[in-house]
Symmetry: C2
Amino acid sequence: MTGNKSSKKKELIAKDNFTEWYDNVLLEAKVADDRYPVKGFTVYTGWGMSIARRIIGMLEERLDNTDHDPMQFPVVIPQSSFQKEEDHIAGFSGEVFWITHAGENELENKLVLRPTSETAIYPMFKLWMRSHQDFPIRMQQTCNVYRYETKATRPLYRGREFLWNEGHTAHATYEDAEEQIKIALRIYSEVYDALGLSYIMLKRPVFDKFAGADYSVAFDTWNPDGKVNQIGTVHQLGYNFGEAFEQTFEDENGEQATAANTCYGMGFGRTLAATIAHHGDNNGLVLPPKVAPKQVVIVPILFRGKEEIAVGYAKELEAKLKEAGIRVVLDSDNRTSPGDKYYKWEMYGVPLRLEVGPREAQNKNATLVRRDNFEKVQVDEEKLVEKVNELFEAIFENLKAKDKAKLDSLVKDAYDMDQLEAYMEARLIVKVNWCGDAECAMNIKDQVSGEIRGTRWDVEEEPTGSCVFCKDEAKYVAYVSRTY
Amino acid sequence: MTGNKSSKKKELIAKDNFTEWYDNVLLEAKVADDRYPVKGFTVYTGWGMSIARRIIGMLEERLDNTDHDPMQFPVVIPQSSFQKEEDHIAGFSGEVFWITHAGENELENKLVLRPTSETAIYPMFKLWMRSHQDFPIRMQQTCNVYRYETKATRPLYRGREFLWNEGHTAHATYEDAEEQIKIALRIYSEVYDALGLSYIMLKRPVFDKFAGADYSVAFDTWNPDGKVNQIGTVHQLGYNFGEAFEQTFEDENGEQATAANTCYGMGFGRTLAATIAHHGDNNGLVLPPKVAPKQVVIVPILFRGKEEIAVGYAKELEAKLKEAGIRVVLDSDNRTSPGDKYYKWEMYGVPLRLEVGPREAQNKNATLVRRDNFEKVQVDEEKLVEKVNELFEAIFENLKAKDKAKLDSLVKDAYDMDQLEAYMEARLIVKVNWCGDAECAMNIKDQVSGEIRGTRWDVEEEPTGSCVFCKDEAKYVAYVSRTY
């Protein structure tokens, strides 16, 4: 994967050419390798998996703090369980992988590779609930799920195997489940916020909710190619799975009652893809310091005869930063030039570069270069740790503010179909007045290159005119966009 | 899962009755639930998964520190890749799950659920190596693998889905691969040592090495039922997979050369099972403090009218311990008695119990009770943190020493077949002189209830007589035991 560095430098691809830029960055920055010989299955390589692990850690920490028990359920679901909830099987049966044989045997009971785990988990929940005192039950697992996608696959965005965390809960009352929805939405928001990702929180229209849910709330984020990227979803399942899987218990009055469920999933591939696509630039990744596997790269500038001085000083600074808990790498590979190193670590998106030569060694200072805007600042050794932490914060705030501004710039209002179509062609996210009828939504989808994604969950938005399609009275403000 | 606590107390099962004890502890301490409706597939529940996550963390930290890139490879392997290495396919083809259909379609290329990932990973390694400068390549992943076991399954010990970490490496020379074997064995030893687990490091006999390896080294640990539990393996693959998967590169002289591979796996289910089985007692789990999800449980002793005093003081101590980075839980559930709480947290294996009543609140002290030996010690508040940390160390050292003594007591020498069989019946681990012939090994396996597991890797042992079976000259000291 190393090869001739100077020839690589010429391969820099402008981010405007997003598709090509993205594919190149995944490989060059060792995020993922899509050459695995099964369609829709991608290898997470070292740098990408290191970032993903940090995103996973951010979510799991919050799930731990809100009393979700970490668990691990099997990847296989027996056909009999899988088919118990009618809407659910209708929604998923067309896209599951089937295990039919093992060793030399044909299996008597075929197994499904989980496309999501409701039908694996709720039969066990049933065993764990006897009385109202057993609630709430809250579990979470980080795992892969499997869907035989027929749409075009894209690494991290849409694969047949995808890495996510799924949370599942059971409650004694519907109201308790409603409270849980709020907790889940808050936790998910916190993770996206910590990544500097802007998003729109939408209640999905009835025809686009999760198969088996009462309603679904999703986090849609913008993407440079003009599609929206669904990075997380939270579902109120109500009593649907409680009834299908006989999740019953003795309530406070000694009566048999049915439990209410919620579930939620954060896709780590898509969240990682958003982090790359939102913050990256022509030189490669630009990582928020919290999830950067290495936060500072030290590049010694070597002058013949004075190599020892610069490298010795670089090691001192490395030790100092390490001691302060900063993830630092000293790139003293003498097969590559400083320019090669700049190129490499910029591609990897390391937030800060620290340059040290003999002069810096003598003056006991160093030059810091920000990855997000290439600003250089000289800092004395004794202020180094403080300055580094200050710049991490500044980089994060900059990425976040730019991201928010970008999303704001993409959202437009349209009041008629021509305008809507024009904005769709411009790959924007468009707010329209909508009567609420599924038929109008289908007509919109047929006529323009996007579709209704839902209505705002977090803020109340009042329609300001008649339905963009049928011109009847509008009940909602709906968001229309191209989708992945 | 709560129910009537006092009736549960009567269910305590002596550990001498190991099988029943183990099944009961898994359920009662919420380690795992084996009632999942597919044979050989087990659910890791909250407490068990929390322990497993800490064991995983201990290993991954060491893999990070020795430059293993975290990656994630797909769970599916195309049949064409799977069948490339002859010995490997011969070893595994009888026990793999096959995915043959997806959605409504029959797959043109059948997929195997990985039983281990060599044949998934090495085709990608091939793409990542061009010159000798690209070495070493080192990756690791924590994932599940799938084997259609025909032997009896036991939760965590032997399942059809098992959670492990696998490391894979590629090197420019066989010698470099040999060095890597040493690193892997060291890392694995460190993790087992940190869990207080004693083990025997054995080079497996040729007929029992990993399918496709030059040789295999395994960690066998004792088990209360008299079988040995293989908790980790490290394999020198030599050039076998390099040749089968065309892992070639340009060496320092500009010649095409083939890479050497090593791979290793630590089974987390089995390691968790060993931790439970070795250290547990009649009252349930006894956890080494490092991996205990909660390290201290505070139980307030309530006297009518003085509840506030004890609970208030308990909260103070909880805050103090938390601040010191200790994982503490305050059990102030007023539906259960102190006795119920002792029972529960002893079952969970929490290393220290802290009892506080109104008198302790007044005297600003507390009573600490060790889980491993039930010793009580009173400690003043200002010495609490220090004492707790001191006791963690003492508990760990005690568990480790007892474990070592237990293993030592189980290993015996036998010089003839009668003695060997007698020791096997007594479920011991037996050292015998062995000529090295596979035929003798097969005869031994046929005649006694155990089999040759290998010869010591970490120490040289000289045979002291003739082969236990054929009476020819012995070349090795072999270890014979019952196996899982």
